[in-house]
């Protein structure tokens, strides 16, 4: 090939290429224009009337009641299933649900429940004693050894054919159940190993949502994404990460729900959830921060509903990490925190000061208990004494663990941590803040790796035992236990065990009052705040009522007719 020919080939080749390049470019340009033009149709606002759209911060992982712990799943489960007993619409009284009535034997060991006749599951089968027994068996059946090398994946791994997932977080809450008998179709008898004051409360919790035996048999492993219960809404469809569609169950024993369908959408970012509510793309948005809710409250189209809740935010002080084993140090820390200012910083004032671990909305909370006043002088003095005892030189350094994500009880964890850091500086404690993502945070705290830590707890079952025993008893010190301060006291332990077994409410009140006072005195933890639940929704939505136990129920929710 001559030089000239080469040049020529080079050019013609490029000529071809450039023209195709230009074509690609102009084609893309055209497509881009199309993309924008197509978008200019109507806006996609959620249609009101028979469809209610609820936006929450994440998609559930499983909808099998026995296998979950997270609120996003519970919100759906509560509306697809019913429990034997439940909480009243507005109060925290236990009322009959699938069980019509019940009685207890004199020794407190036998509980007999009469089931409501004529209740149907969404698949049309009757809800009877067999279904109740199956529900509890699935939750309680013990783990068995697997000889299969494929381990978890194999069927029949667990001793029960209808347990498909070995993770059952709430199993221990029902460990007092020794046996279940079903003398007839509508009678269920529970035999307990010891009298339990919390048993009935626990029956109102979602893990014992009564599941359809036929649904379990039919869907098998897929029951986790195709739940069948007796609740006011029946499951229709789940597009993971996009939406869960529920439809009202016309044959619900309490009469059909008011809206025809309920759509639950995951919207991860607060700002996005807020904007979707403002645009009317969703009707209810949960889990927004105090500042965001304050903005929404000013919007004429929206309502911000607030309601008392049952939770506590507290500071844990790991007594196994010196010098926090010294009570004077812990007391000094408690004295140095101005809780009223903390409420403003952490919650915009929408919370109550915490004195006890038991929230004031719960029975058993001792109202007569008086908190330590905010007293820097006394705190300093105690620190000096403690330093002398421990042979330390002030200031000492302590690490404060905090989670990066907000929780209902810790709505602005980082600002709160910074406030605590500033509060402890004047008494000779230099705090460094260690932030972690929430599951790593609790992992570290349960493992006892922290010195100081911000933590909190939501009620499961409306009983003080759920706060005091879970969070402060020595039984719950382990790498998976919630006594994060690792505080041991035989006296407290005796009280808390007595409280579980005592059936007389007056006597239990006294026991829990003593326990709360003992905790206040020994300061393994500093209760900081009890928050409210606040949720924003569109105006004109009626019958949607927040509940102290954080139950989210849609049965009565509906849109008022437009004027």
């Amino acid at each position: 090939m001559t030089n000239d020919e080469l040049t020529h080939a080079f050019h013609s080749d490029f000529g071809f290429r450039i023209s195709s390049l230009c074509k690609i470019a102009s084609l893309s340009l055209f497509a881009a224009a199309l993309l924008f033009a197509a978008g200019c149709g109507g806006s996609g606002s959620g249609s009101r009337g028979n469809v209610l759209i609820y936006a929450q911060s994440d998609d559930p992982k499983t909808l099998d009641p026995i296998s979950t712990d997270i609120a996003e799943a519970v919100h759906v489960i509560t509306n697809v299933f019913d429990t034997l007993v439940t909480y009243d619409e507005t109060t925290t009284d236990l009322v009959p649900s699938l069980a019509e009535s019940w009685n207890t034997s004199a020794d407190g060991l036998t509980w007999t429940f009469k089931l409501r006749p004529g209740v149907l599951f969404h698949d049309g089968t009757p809800c009877n004693a067999t279904a109740v027994k199956l529900t509890f068996d699935r939750l309680l059946v013990p783990l068995t050894k697997s000889s299969s090398e494929d381990g978890i994946k194999q069927h029949g791994l667990l001793a029960h054919p209808h347990v498909y997932d070995a993770v059952r977080p709430y199993q221990s809450a029902y460990s007092m159940i020794q046996g279940i008998e079903t003398p007839d179709d509508l009678t269920v008898v529970f035999k307990l190993s010891h009298p339990s004051a919390i048993f009935l409360n626990n029956l109102a919790m979602f893990p014992v949502s009564i599941s359809s035996p036929q649904g379990l048999a039919e869907h098998g492993r897929n029951f986790a994404e195709h739940p069948v219960g007796t609740g006011p809404f029946k499951f229709v469809k789940w597009n993971r990460g996009q939406r869960i569609v529920l439809e009202r169950f016309e044959e619900h024993w309490r009469g059909p729900a008011k809206v025809k369908s309920l759509i639950v959408v995951p919207v991860q970012e607060n700002a996005t959830r807020m904007q979707r509510l403002e645009r009317g793309e969703v009707h209810i948005a949960e889990g927004l921060s105090p500042a965001e809710l304050d903005v929404l409250a000013k919007n004429d189209e929206l309502v911000v509903q607030s309601h008392e809740a049952m939770n506590v935010a507290y500071l844990t002080m790991n007594v196994e990490k010196p010098p926090l084993g010294n009570r004077k140090v812990r007391e000094a820390i408690a004295l140095a925190i101005d809780k009223n200012t903390l409420l403003q910083i952490g919650y915009g004032g929408n919370a109550q000061v915490g004195v006890s671990m038991v929230p004031p909305t719960m029975w058993g909370h001792d109202k007569t208990m008086v908190d330590r006043p905010f007293d820097l002088a006394k705190a300093k003095q105690l620190m000096e004494e403690a330093a002398a005892e421990e042979g330390l030189k002030l200031p000492i350094r302590l690490e404060l663990s905090v989670m990066n994500q907000a929780r209902i009880y810790l709505q602005q964890p980082l600002p709160m941590a910074k406030f605590l850091k500033d509060s402890l500086a004047p008494i000779g404690i230099e705090v460094s803040i260690q932030g972690r993502d929430v599951s790593a945070h609790f992992d570290a705290l349960m493992g006892g790796e922290h010195q100081l830590g911000l933590a909190g707890w939501n009620s499961d079952n409306n009983d003080p035992d759920n706060f005091l025993y879970s969070l402060c008893d020595q039984d719950n010190i382990s790498k998976a236990g919630n006594n994060l301060s690792r505080f041991r006291s035989d006296k407290l332990h005796a009280l808390l065990i007595a409280g579980q077994k005592e059936m007389d409410k007056e006597k239990r009140l006294k026991i829990y009052s003593d326990a709360q006072r003992l905790i206040l005195q020994e300061v393994p933890v500093v209760p900081l705040a009890h928050t409210q639940i606040r949720t924003a929704h569109v105006k004109g939505l009626a019958g949607f009522q927040l509940h102290t136990t954080a139950l989210v129920r849609f049965r009565n929710a509906h849109f008022e007719a437009a004027q």
Binding site: F14, D165, P169, G241, E269
Partner: protein, 334 residues
């Protein structure tokens, strides 16, 4: 040529293997495990220990790594998600990857023409206002964080939906390929196409800014370099117009670096635009990986995603190399 291809394939496999092993080890080094995340507020030590044994996490890490690769070889899948029991990771990825591909393609459809046009204009009018505008714009494009951009875009373009792929009420639609634009056609639901495109606009625009800015800057640099060359001066001297010179001579010669950078960007975008997908609730690979790493510590999900991402990245680089051969005959001659 076959030898070259085989060598490239070998490199690609080695790269994937190294990347996936590193991800595997990194996940094991992270604090926490998938079970603690699942038990949440109610960890049950007895159950956790039993399950850890079942999953083999009590074994040495190299043994676990071996089991992991053996499983892929033997069953050809990545196992089941631990966070979402009963869901196979491979099945989940089949749903997530198309969502990300659709978003990526839409973003490139915006980024490539606008980026190239802006870069070319900047080069042609060097140091004049189009150039300054382009420089400023691309600086803005790479530096504005996505969540901020999202809020801005929603305010400027209020008639586009805030997030998601379809309206929440549109539940009956059954995707086939997972590319919704295509699925509306395949499922004879062309009535949904406007809504699908509608939902694409904001996330695609937000995702396009960074590649657009980078493409603009690379285009500008490459075109400038070519414009300074002797043969361009010759062409201009022969009376070619600036437009003709740029289109016929400068751009084609700038094609190789531009393709190179576009290829890299495609790889990056496909590996999951975590922030964009989070802000716009786009159920793609980015959101999947984020949940698996940050929230769930879901080993199988992270490992499966790592394999897919590494494979996509490596394949795209390979394709880009092939494209070079097509675009630049000099490479072929060698």
């Amino acid at each position: 040529v076959t030898g070259y291809l085989l060598r490239r394939l070998g490199h690609a496999l080695a790269t994937i293997l190294v990347a996936v092993t590193l991800v595997f080890l990194a996940m094991r080094a992270l604090p926490g495990n998938p079970l603690l995340a699942r038990f949440g507020q109610h960890p049950d030590l007895k159950q956790i220990e039993w399950l850890e044994k079942q999953y083999g996490w009590d074994r040495p890490v190299h043994e676990q790594l071996g089991t992991f690769y053996w499983r892929i070889v033997r069953y050809g899948d990545f196992g089941e998600s631990i966070a979402r029991p009963t869901k196979s990771v491979a099945g989940e990825l089949r749903e997530k990857v198309p969502a990300t591909i659709e978003l990526t393609v839409a973003a490139l459809v915006i980024a490539i023409p606008f980026g190239m046009a802006a870069g070319t204009a900047a080069a042609a009018w060097k140091n004049r206002w189009p150039d300054r505008l382009c420089t400023f714009g691309s600086l803005l494009g790479v530096s504005v964080p996505v969540f901020f951009l999202a809020i801005g875009l929603r305010a400027v373009l209020p008639w586009f939906p805030v997030s998601g792929r379809l309206p929440s009420t549109e539940a009956a639609f059954e995707p086939l390929t997972g590319l919704f634009t295509l699925d509306t056609l395949l499922r004879s639901r062309l009535d949904l196409l406007p809504a699908v495109l509608h939902h694409l606009v904001l996330p695609a625009t937000a995702l396009s800014t960074i590649p657009m800015a980078i493409i603009a800057r690379i285009t500008r640099g490459s075109v400038l370099e070519v414009l300074a060359a002797d043969y361009i001066r010759t062409a201009r001297a022969k009376g070619s117009s600036l437009l003709r010179v740029v289109l016929r001579h400068a751009l084609p010669n700038a094609a190789v670096p531009i393709t190179n950078i576009v290829g890299l960007q495609v790889g990056l975008l496909l590996s999951g635009a975590v922030l964009t997908e989070t802000v716009f609730d786009w159920p793609g690979l980015g959101l999947y990986v984020k949940a698996a790493v940050v929230g769930d510590t879901d080993y199988p999900a992270v490992q499966g995603a790592a394999i897919v991402i590494a494979t996509m990245f490596v394949s795209i680089n390979f394709l880009v190399d092939l494209l070079f051969v097509w675009l630049d005959p000099r490479i072929r001659v060698k």
